[in-house]
Symmetry: C2
Subunit: 136 residues, 2 copies
DNA sequence: GCTACACTCTGTATTAATTACAGGGTAAAG
DNA sequence: CTTTACCCTGTAATTAATACAGAGTGTAGC
């Protein structure tokens, strides 16, 4: 289903498009997060748009604080190695995790916004406001 | 301002309370994310409630995908080494970053929720739904 | 005071995730 | 046909976190 059709990207281009470091792509292939891509006659890696999507998903997931193992778990849903009710369970567990992350981020956002607001008058924000960042 | 008053936690207790691994605390002290705590006569580390708050903040920030360096930047606001307009700037930059993270998380949440919903009927979610996870 | 147990200390080693480098091959523009 | 810009592999170094080894401390019960 997510099979690659065409050979559209070389490794360097894929790195640029996805925002993932060139060497990191090779590392992801080594640990199995990314599949081993087909090769050209000379041995050059040959990526498709599907590789780009998958890699971008990995990057964003990592930036959101998921470990490589957790990203692997999410990708197993895509790879189709699970039955339907297992997919549902994994999906809902991750939704819970995401809701918690969003709440924490919003708390931090509010603390930062009140710090910025206090600073608008040109006055250093007082201890109470600064400490709120740590109280979340 | 965030000076420690009392000696309330030993390193083990702080680890348990904060959810940060015992050894990781020592590591954070080494790289300067946490201050070197005062010591007892025998050389035991002696932590206060302020250390606990700071450490908990670090843990949560890490879980939200901030690097140690980024967490350090946030903590410099707390440590008071910046002028007011600099604090404001750092705060607002981080708010932007947070808004982006929240948006990404919500997209992922929606994709996961539609996968779970499709699975409710006992049917394997179709390719379109699964691929949506990678399309975000 | 002793003995045992759970904790602490330090320094070093390992793991995970990533990035950098060295030494060489390939494609293709001029 | 040479120069430039890629690509390949294997290995080394970085960053973030943990694990381990060998020794000291504190205290509860004898």
């Amino acid at each position: 289903m997510t099979a690659s059709r065409k050979c559209e990207y070389t490794r360097g281009k894929l790195a640029k498009e996805s925002g993932v470091n060139l060497e990191t792509i090779r590392f992801y292939e080594k640990i199995g997060l990314m599949p081993d891509p087909p090769r050209s006659a000379a041995g050059y890696r040959c990526y498709s748009i599907d590789h780009l999507k998958r890699l971008t998903f990995i990057r964003r997931s990592r930036e959101l604080g998921f470990t490589n193992n957790e990203v692997g778990g999410l990708l197993e849903m895509v790879d189709g190695s699970y039955a339907c009710d297992e997919i549902k369970q994994i999906a809902l567990e991750n939704v819970k995790l995401i809701i918690k992350k969003v709440l924490d981020l919003k708390k931090m956002q509010q603390a930062l916004e009140s710090m910025a607001a206090e600073c608008s008058g040109g006055v250093t924000p007082d201890c109470a406001i600064i400490d709120r960042l740590l109280e979340t």
